[in-house]
Every structure is written in structure tokens, then in C-alpha cells.
Amino acid sequence: MTPQKRSHHRLKRAVAPYLYLSPSLLIIGLLMLLPMVTVIAYSFQNSAVLRRDPSFAGLKHYQAIFADPVFWASLWHTLYFTCMSVVFHMTIGMVFALMLNSDRINPTLRNILRVLYILPWLFTAVIIAVIWRLLLEPNGVVNSILMQMGIIGSKVEWFSSPETALHAVTFANIWAGYPLFMVSLLAGLQGIPKDFYEAADIDGAKAYQKLIFITIPQLMPIIISISLLDFIWTMQVFPLIWITTGGGPIYSTEVLSTYTYKLAFSSYNLSQASASAVVILLISLGLTLFYIRYQKAR
């Protein structure tokens, strides 16, 4: 092979991987990077989208949202909503997964429970919102049962009262999201070698000790991965909150997604909405980087 041919061959080999990657790179560029860059650009413009010749605004829109108390309230509500959701998704998911993995439960009953427990996952966010609106409305089933049991003395406006609305939407989201944990942890549980438990039995370990020293450490990689993903996804939840409360009453369930939506489609302030979207992007990006680093470390 002549040196010329060799160098040509080397070049081909170097370029080939990029050629294989080019269709996906093109799609990612067009569908993800381009809109992202556009939104970032909008956040630095005055009257973005609404004017053909928007002027440069600098950091004005970022200053405006950081000076808005509703933004900080939204950020706090987002954190509460997300943290509570993730913690309860994990706890409920773990309990149900352990139950479904237990040999002490009759196999037929276990199969029935398996179907029942996974049901919330089959509903879309809109259906979940409608179900919980009906259940928790002042004249709904929940109030009726609680009143009959003597737990509450009068009808509670779960979604319409500033004191209960955020807890109510968080509860609905917990109900909707635990099956992801349950299914993932169940798969993890089934992968733990039986030898570990047999050895623990020989050592005289109690059930809670087996849980703490075998089950949880073995499931830890799954718990961390799914928790991080759930955190990222829950932070961006929009339809459930929008349909149940619209961010109200007052601003008690305003989260970053509803705050941004209102800026864009109620105030038509697309520049400020873009700035708010960039803040969400940065938070999500931070969590994603953390997730990637964790995955690499594994």
C-alpha cells in the first residue's frame, strides 16, 4: 500500500464513526440543541418572538424574575413538590416491591396486587388530574368518607384552600408516580442472590437486619439512579398541577412550570418566560450532570 493510499485509508477510518453518528447528531441538533439555543437567545432579547426586530436586553429578564416573589415561591413549591414526591415514591415503591417479592403472600393474590399496584402508571396525567379533582372536591368521596369516620367535621376544599392545595397535588403526584420505583425495585429484588439471605439466616439475622444490611445496599444503585431521574422528571411536572389547581389558589401551588407557562401564554412575556425556562434548564442540567457522573462512577 502506498503512503498516499495509507493516509487516505486512515482518514476514512477516522471519519467513518462520525458519518455513522451524523443522522442522530443531526436529529439531536435540530430537535434539541436548536430550540434550546433559541430559548436561551430569547431570554436576552426584548419582546422576543413578538417583534421582528427584538433588541438586546442583557440580563434584564433574569433580574426581573429574580426580583419577583412569585418566582421564589414557585421555586420553593417546586422543591417541596419534588422532594416529597421522590421520597414517597421511593418508600411506597419499596414497600410494594417487597410485598410483591415476598413468598409469604399467596401467588394468586400477589398477581392481583401486581396489577392493582401498577394501575396508576397506566393513566395519563390528565386522567389522574380529573380522578383526583373528583375525589377531592368539597362534595367528593374523600370528604364524605372522612366525615363519616369523624376525622373531619366539615367539608375540606382540598384543592381550593391555600393551606391544603400544595399537599393535595403532591399527594396526587405521589399516587401517580410510585409504580416506576416499584417495578424497578422489584426487578432489583429478584436479582439479589438467595445465598445472601441463606447466609444471613444461618447467622441468625432478623428480617429488619436483612433489609438494612442486604436488601437496601444491593438495591442502592437502582434507588439512586431512579431517584435522580424521578427528581428531574417531577421538577418539570406541568399538566397535573395545571389541571387540578392552575397554580392557585392565590399562588399556593405555583411551580416553576406553571409560572413559566403563565408568563408565556397569559402575559405574552416570552422573553421573561424564556429566562425562567433557562433557570429550569440549569437546575435540570445540574441534576443530569450529577446523574451522569454517578453512572460513570459505577
Binding site: 418572538v49 413578538l50 417583534r51 421582528r52 379533582r133 372536591e137 368539597p138 362534595n139 367539608k155 376544599e157 384543592f159 381550593s160 384552600s161 391555600p162 392545595a165 395545571w242 389541571i243 387540578t244 389547581t245 392552575g246 397554580g247 392557585g248 389558589p249 392565590i250 399562588y251 403563565k262 401564554f265 397569559s266 402575559s267 405574552y268
Partner: protein
């Protein structure tokens, strides 16, 4: 070298000329973006367009139809990018923003040039002196009364004043039976309850929430209205769940005999009948303040129409607008939509065939259309701000005066 023109070349040149000539004589195609087509009986708007095309040879109309929200977004983006359709369906709440983008043509010039009779239209929406929209069809908002609940509660005379309304609402309320006198939807998801269910009380009494083109929320009319709504709430006459209740839920509660009275769009009459054929209801105008004898403002939502400032076919677009606003066509369109006409001479056929519509038409004719949100900047945002302050008031966090003052402060920032 000699150059000979062959017969075949001559034929080709002739064909090319013919093609060019026919191209020059080609039809003008108007694009008409609106959300009306999906809300009308299938094919009916297209049929009206076919009639227009038959009456105006050389003009074709392409309908670009979608749901309301999609159309709104499409029009916003079209205005920004200069790709707005020639003729656009408009909501009064959008026109200020679109005008700020110089997206809408001033129809004053077209009206003058064509000798258009302005007295035949119910309203012309103007922004900065520019005529930017005609309401083609109006959906008015009277008070619906459940006559069976009223009779059971001993309400023999339907309320005409606010005090009578409060009394009637108290009588109809039986919280233990989940039955309430009135329903107020203030969901922040769709804050139109501020316009339809709150400000309508102000307009009904011939009052205004504006003064000299600026918000006047701290004025007596709005503060009195807020105090009145608070008194209804304090008396426990409003169905619970106000802060997250939507318009659909309001109608649902009325249909299910759970509320005695509601302010609602006349467009829902058929829906209410379909959902509960046995429901015995009547319509009355929104009650007024004591001793008011003037004309009553009637809240409304409308299907408006305007022309794109960037349209290359404004003359043809104006012909389409005139056609839709003409007496006969307007009557036909609003009959299909169960709406009231934009042409004052048009009489929709349902007003003679249906008792409820006939009564509403009487209310419509004796009052005037009133919706001060039409033409205001970021109207929906203004409603949201007012909604939040009203919710705080109803939650006992502030007085009506404080709610009005806070809303005024928020609104002024938008002006």
C-alpha cells in the same frame, strides 16, 4: 448563418404566453384562520365560503381551522413572523397585543372607500383610533335560574337587583343538601370568571372598571361589586371550591341541580338541555344596583374578525369581511352558532323558534354589549391578577378595598 423560427418554437412560445396570461388572471386565494369551523356544524362554514366565492368570482378562500387555543398561538406567532393569514378570526382579548405588533390593518380606510354603512354593525373594536375588529357573532352571558329550585325555596319573583339576588341566593342555599344559590368559577387555569362572573355585575349597572382609558379598580363600581361578591360568600351562598372551579364545572353543577343561579354563556343552552332534559330553567339579565333604571350592559364573548396588515389582498379580504357582516349572511352564521348577530339588522332564526333564545334576544335588544377587557393589553394576565386578589379577599386575607387597590397597582404596571 440564418436563424429560422420553426413552427414548433412558435407553438411553444404561444403556449408559454397563454400560461402566463392565465397565471395573471388566476384567482386570488385568501387564507382565513379561525377557530369557528370546528365549533359549527360540519361543512357549514365552508358552505358560506362557497357562497362568497360564487358571489365574488376570482376570489377563493382557504379555511385554516383549529381549536381556540391553537388558533390563538398560531395567530400570535403569525403576527410576529409576518405570516398572518389575510383574514383572521379574533378574540377581543388579543387585539391590543396584535395591534402593538402592527399586525392588524386599519379597516377605517376600507370602510370609507367602500361606503360601508357603519350603523349596521353592533360594534367596531378600535385600538389607538384604528378599527381592527368587528364582532361577527356574540355570545352573551345572562343569568340562568333553576326554576324548580327557586320555586322550592319560595323565590316567587326572579331577582332584578343585587339585594334581591342575595336574598334569592340565601333562600336557595341548603349546604347540607349540597345545594347553593350561586356559583363562582375563579380557577387560575382559565381566569375568564373575572370577566364573566364578576365584572359583569359592574357592566350590568351601566358602570365601568375604567376611567379615561386607565383602570379604575379602586372606584366605587368595582369596590361595590367586590363587597357584593364577598357578602354572597360570607352568607355561604356560593358553591365551595371557588378558587379552582372552571367554567365547565360551573355548568355541570347547574345541570345537576346543585346551584340555583349562574351567569353563563347563552351558547351553553343546548348543552344544558342535552345534559339534563328535565331541567326547568329561565334566563334573566344580570341584576343591577339599587335604583338603577338605565340600559343594562350585557357581558359577551365574541367571534371577531380582522384583516392582516401584511396581507397582499386587503381589498379582497375586506370583501370577505363585508360579506360575513352583511345582514343575511350574518343571520345565517349566527343561527348556526346559536349566537347573537354582529349586524344589528340580522335576526337569527332560533329567536322565533326557541323560547329561551327569544327571551335572551329580548335581553340583548334592550341592553348593550359590554366587555371592557376587549382591546386591553394582556387581557388574560389582567384577569389573572384580579383573580388572585379576589381569591385573597374571599380567603379573608384582605378587604374588598385592599383587593381593589392591589389589583389596580398590578394593572397599572401593565398599562
Amino acid at each position: 448563418m440564418t436563424f429560422r423560427i420553426r413552427p414548433a418554437m412558435l407553438k411553444m412560445a404561444a403556449a408559454a404566453w397563454l400560461l402566463g396570461a392565465t397565471g395573471a388572471m388566476a384567482d386570488t386565494t385568501l387564507e382565513f384562520t379561525q377557530w369557528w369551523e370546528p365549533e359549527l356544524p360540519a361543512g357549514s362554514l365552508r358552505k358560506i365560503m362557497d357562497e362568497f366565492e360564487a358571489a365574488n368570482p376570482g376570489i377563493k378562500v382557504t379555511l385554516v381551522s383549529g381549536p381556540y387555543a391553537t388558533t390563538r398561538d398560531q395567530i400570535s406567532v403569525g403576527a410576529a413572523t409576518g405570516t398572518l393569514s389575510d383574514v383572521v378570526g379574533l378574540d377581543g382579548a388579543w387585539v391590543n397585543n396584535l395591534n402593538a405588533q402592527n399586525a392588524l390593518a386599519d379597516m377605517n380606510r376600507m370602510m370609507d372607500a367602500s361606503g360601508f354603512d357603519k350603523s349596521q354593525v353592533a360594534d367596531i373594536i378600535k385600538v389607538d383610533g384604528k378599527a381592527v375588529m368587528f364582532p361577527v357573532a356574540s355570545f352573551v352571558y345572562p343569568v340562568f335560574v333553576n326554576m324548580d329550585l327557586a320555586a322550592k325555596a319560595g323565590v316567587s319573583k326572579l331577582p332584578s337587583t343585587r339585594a334581591e339576588f342575595l336574598e334569592a341566593a340565601k333562600k336557595m342555599t341548603h349546604a347540607d343538601k349540597n345545594q347553593y344559590g350561586w356559583v363562582l368559577p375563579l380557577s387560575l387555569q382559565t381566569p375568564s370568571g373575572v370577566q364573566n362572573d364578576m365584572m359583569s355585575w359592574v357592566w350590568a349597572s351601566g358602570q365601568s372598571m375604567m376611567a379615561n382609558g386607565k383602570p379604575d379598580l379602586e372606584g366605587k363600581p368595582v369596590v361595590d361589586m367586590l363587597s357584593f361578591v364577598k357578602s354572597l360568600n360570607d352568607a355561604g351562598t356560593i358553591s365551595p371550591g371557588i378558587a379552582t372551579k372552571t367554567e365547565q364545572e360551573k355548568v355541570e353543577e347547574f345541570v345537576n341541580d346543585r346551584v340555583g343561579m349562574m351567569i353563563d354563556s347563552l351558547a351553553h343552552v343546548n348543552l344544558i338541555r342535552k345534559r339534563n332534559p328535565k331541567l326547568n330553567f329561565d334566563l334573566i339579565p344580570v341584576p343591577v344596583v339599587e335604583n338603577y333604571n338605565g340600559k343594562r350592559g350585557l357581558p359577551y364573548a365574541s367571534w371577531g374578525i380582522g384583516i392582516s396588515a401584511g396581507s397582499k389582498h386587503q381589498e379582497e379580504a375586506w370583501k370577505l369581511v363585508q360579506f360575513l357582516m352583511s345582514e343575511k349572511v350574518n343571520a345565517k352564521l349566527v343561527s348556526l352558532a346559536n349566537a347573537f348577530p354582529g349586524n344589528v339588522n340580522a335576526k337569527p332564526d332560533f329567536v322565533t323558534s326557541d323560547k329561551a333564545f327569544a327571551k335572551a334576544f329580548e335581553i340583548f335588544k334592550t341592553g348593550y354589549l359590554a366587555n371592557e377587557f376587549t382591546g386591553l393589553p394582556v387581557a388574560e394576565d389582567l384577569m389573572t391578577q384580579f383573580d388572585v386578589e379576589a381569591q385573597k379577599m374571599l380567603a379573608g386575607e384582605q378587604s374588598p378595598e385592599q383587593a381593589a387597590a392591589n389589583a389596580q397597582k398590578g394593572w397599572m404596571a401593565k398599562f
